[in-house]
């Protein structure tokens, strides 16, 4: 099988992941709901992962995919801990709006 990128082009993947990444940023800025913010972060992570895989193919090298593998592990851990924190915050203050999470205010 020939290289798939010959038919699609790496630039399209780059465009796609850039757009996805921007959507993620947009989501973080736009939404106040911490869960949605989390989801936006996941979108950003996936945008990057996608790019990794695309370039892995481009370079004919498995390293990129290995990296994605690890990034998934990290994302899983992060989500687990992050959601646990959210839950406990929700229990404490009854809201998960990030406007209420200003304990770091100087």
């Amino acid at each position: 099988m020939g290289n798939i990128l010959n038919q699609i082009g790496i630039e399209n993947y780059i465009f796609l992941s850039v757009v996805l990444f921007c959507i993620g940023i947009f989501g973080v800025l736009y939404r106040r709901n911490a869960i949605i913010v989390f989801m936006s972060i996941e979108i950003m992570l996936n945008a990057v992962n996608l790019l990794f895989v695309a370039f892995s193919t481009y370079h004919q090298d498995a390293q990129g995919q290995v990296f994605v593998f690890f990034s998934m592990a990290v994302a899983a851990a992060e989500v687990a801990v992050g959601l646990a924190i959210l839950v406990s915050i929700f229990r404490n203050i009854g809201s998960i709006s990030i406007d209420n999470l200003k304990n770091l205010k100087g």
Partner: protein, 179 residues
């Protein structure tokens, strides 16, 4: 120049790609814009599935499967559980100042423009793609690399997950102790 797919003479793969990309972007947007978190989560699942489709398209089956398992299977379920646990099915975000929206839109546009500008600027790097036909992304190869070259990080990843698990348990448990 940006390579614009020619829809009239598009190959199957190109069509599939365009379709998947469309779904990905749309669902990502919907994730963000839908008022109900549950809907968001469901859109996100679709988004993840489409990304897994991309992986398949790129011929990395292993990753696609892992992606579906981890993201759609584990993470999203976690999200859903959490949303349900918090009873977040109705919209709670009342106040959303205009400045926030403006900021969000500005950053979105800005980063998009910058990134694309960079990409266009560095276009010459993108050249023809050659294939040696060498197998580099089958499960067999990946497994070898993971357990050979990346043995230690791999183990660390497991430790990380373990720690995250313990941390999560502790985080949830402590509240009960306090109350």
């Amino acid at each position: 120049m940006i390579h614009i797919p020619d829809f009239a003479h598009a190959t199957t793969i190109q069509v599939i790609f365009c379709f998947l990309a469309f779904i990905t972007v749309i669902t990502a947007f919907l994730t963000i814009f839908s008022r109900n978190p549950i809907h968001s989560a469901i859109y996100l699942v679709i988004c993840f599935f489409s990304i897994a489709g991309h992986y398949l398209l790129l011929n990395s089956q292993f990753l696609a499967v892992v992606h579906i398992i981890v993201y759609s299977g584990a993470i999203m379920i976690l999200f859903l559980f959490t949303i349900m646990l918090m009873n977040l099915n109705e919209q709670r975000e009342v106040h959303r100042p205009r400045i926030t929206r403006l900021g969000a839109i500005v950053s979105f546009c800005l980063i998009l423009i910058v990134l694309i500008a960079i990409f266009i600027n560095s276009k010459p790097i993108v050249g023809e793609y050659d294939s040696t036909g060498e197998d580099f992304q089958s499960i067999k190869v990946l497994g070898k690399i993971l357990l050979d070259e990346y043995m230690v990080p791999f183990e660390f990843a497991s430790i990380l997950l373990l720690v995250a698990m313990i941390g999560t348990v502790l985080l949830s448990k402590k509240e009960k102790l306090n109350k």
